[in-house]
């Protein structure tokens, strides 16, 4: 079988349910594009699939790849992959649009990921806490965060079993050796879904805006072997420093300067040991849980080690 023939067979399989089109016809269209118009095979294939999608009134997402493979949540690292997952529905959220039937969080032993089930997929209702075999979900990526989509090509089978859902939180500890700029009392852009931190009252997207106050620390934990950049949101910054957002605003108002807040925070937290746990976002660990580390617990072990060397 020639390469073009193979591609034609693949495409034919994808549309066999929805269009009455023969392998020969597909191959001949490929042939025209590739041989006559010198279009690369991948592009030719894409273009033909688009044509048939239009004819069948389907979205690319409805298309079965025919090549979905069994995977775990932790495997998800590429958009537009077709995967089979065995997962538990961890959380269901309020769909933000009529085109979405269900949205939430699903997970397996290796971690959790957001999922979206399209309304027009007409798939059965997923129940929170139940475990399912999902065949043919499609991965998606937005700003470095992955999700999976359930569409009309997805098959759902409820399993009568339970599943331990792992969290992808990491746990790091060390001395807090630095608080980076952009920490303390900050202002964020109030535009919907923006939340960018303002620089001199300006949002890089929306220009001059009346910002909303927030607390944040971008810190560096260092254990003498490696460093971990860590972000503390308002809640964890308040817990870490003992300074609430209201108190911080009052401090800044009294001093006519927001910098006093981060200066006070530096004095309270720099040069102390902490353990933080939370999900990772890019190179940052989001500090959901914070523990101040006090007196050492392993002096005896280290002394024995030293004496035995």
């Amino acid at each position: 079988m020639t390469d073009l023939r193979e591609h034609a067979v693949d495409i034919h399989e994808q549309f066999s349910d929805s269009l009455d089109v023969g392998v020969d016809e597909i191959e001949s269209r490929l042939e025209t594009l590739v041989s006559e118009y010198r279009v690369p095979v991948d592009e030719a294939r894409r273009s033909i699939v688009s044509t048939y999608l239009d004819e069948a009134d389907m979205d690319r997402e409805d298309l079965s790849g025919g090549t979905s493979q069994s995977a775990t949540v932790a495997d998800i690292d590429t958009p537009e992959e077709w995967l089979d997952l065995t997962v538990k529905i961890v959380d269901l959220w309020e769909p933000g649009s009529d085109s979405i039937a269900q949205v939430g969080l699903l997970g397996d032993e290796t971690g959790t990921v957001k999922f979206t089930k399209w309304a027009k997929s007409e798939l059965p209702e997923l129940e929170e806490g139940s475990v399912y075999d999902l065949e043919g979900v499609v991965t998606d990526e937005y700003q470095g965060r992955f999700s999976v989509k359930l569409n009309s090509a997805t098959t759902i089978e409820a399993l009568d079993t339970d599943l331990e859902v792992g969290d992808d939180a990491t746990d790091v500890e060390g001395a807090l050796v630095d608080i980076q700029s952009g920490s303390g009392l900050i202002k964020r852009c109030p535009a919907e879904d923006c939340t960018r931190v303002l620089q001199n009252g300006r949002c890089s997207e929306h220009g001059d805006v009346e910002g909303e106050f927030d607390l944040r620390i971008k810190g560096v934990l260092d254990d003498g072997v490696e460093i971990h950049e860590t972000i503390f949101n308002q809640e964890s910054t308040e817990e870490l420093t003992g300074i609430t957002l209201e108190e911080a605003q009052q401090m800044a108002m009294d001093a006519l300067d927001t910098e006093v807040v981060v200066e006070e925070m530096r004095e309270t937290v720099l040069g102390r040991y902490y353990r933080v746990a939370g999900p990772t976002l890019g190179r940052y660990v989001l500090a959901n849980d914070i523990e101040r580390l006090g007196a050492p617990t392993d002096a005896e072990r280290v002394l024995i080690r030293a004496r035995s060397m």
Binding site: D223, G224, G271, P296, A299, A306, M309
Partner: protein, 198 residues
């Protein structure tokens, strides 16, 4: 790793005795902005350190402008730290802290040659924090552990161990003994503080 995104240097842990012996400095590239490293005798490069101890004395040794010197004592020796107008926060801590007090310092090793031709090592602070004894004690145990890690990894396959052997020799027992006495000191202090259980 891309050269345009410099990675932050890890703050090494070393006791004062070893820190003050780290008189050899080097760069790993010809770039003017390339980091300067001090070579720790147990075989590690240090562009930044994290130290803890008792701030026992502070003195403004500056002529025209403020220039503060602090003595920070750990179980093995004394770190000397100097802060001036370019380290305003650290300077104000040295100016205002009543000694003695436990402190931690994040800073960079600096070497200078005395009139007699000796090389002295000091610490230029990025930040100085007044802390409690639990933080200081945690640092002692952590620094002991890290020092033992380096001693254990001191062999011919380790680039910085090889460099240290050339510069300082391979006699590391001082540093191991320093670790032991630091930990014994810690235990003795703990025994004094905690009343014996009935």
């Amino acid at each position: 790793m891309s050269a345009s995104v410099p990675t932050r240097e890890v703050a090494r842990r070393a006791f004062a005795t070893e820190f003050n012996d780290a008189t050899y400095t080097f760069k790993e590239s010809d770039d003017d902005r390339a980091p300067v490293y001090s070579l720790l005798p147990t075989g590690q490069r240090a562009n930044r350190v994290f130290v803890a101890g008792t701030l026992t004395e502070t003195e403004d040794v500056g002529d025209d402008s403020e220039y503060w010197r602090g003595r920070i004592v750990d179980p093995t020796g004394t770190f000397f730290t100097y802060a001036g107008q370019y380290q305003p926060e650290a300077t104000s801590v040295l100016r205002e802290t009543e000694t003695p007090a436990y402190v931690t310092v994040v800073g960079k090793p600096r070497t200078y040659e005395t009139d007699e031709g000796d090389v002295n090592v000091s610490l230029r602070p990025e930040s100085i924090s007044v802390v409690d004894d639990t933080t200081r004690n945690r640092w002692v145990v952590e620094t002991a552990d890290r020092t033992l890690d380096r001693i254990e990894a001191f062999d011919g396959t380790n680039e910085y161990a090889t460099m240290a052997e050339t510069q300082y020799g391979s006699e590391l027992s001082t540093y191991r003994d320093g670790v032991i006495s630091a930990l014994e000191d810690l235990e003795a202090a703990a025994d004094e503080e905690i009343p014996a259980e009935a």
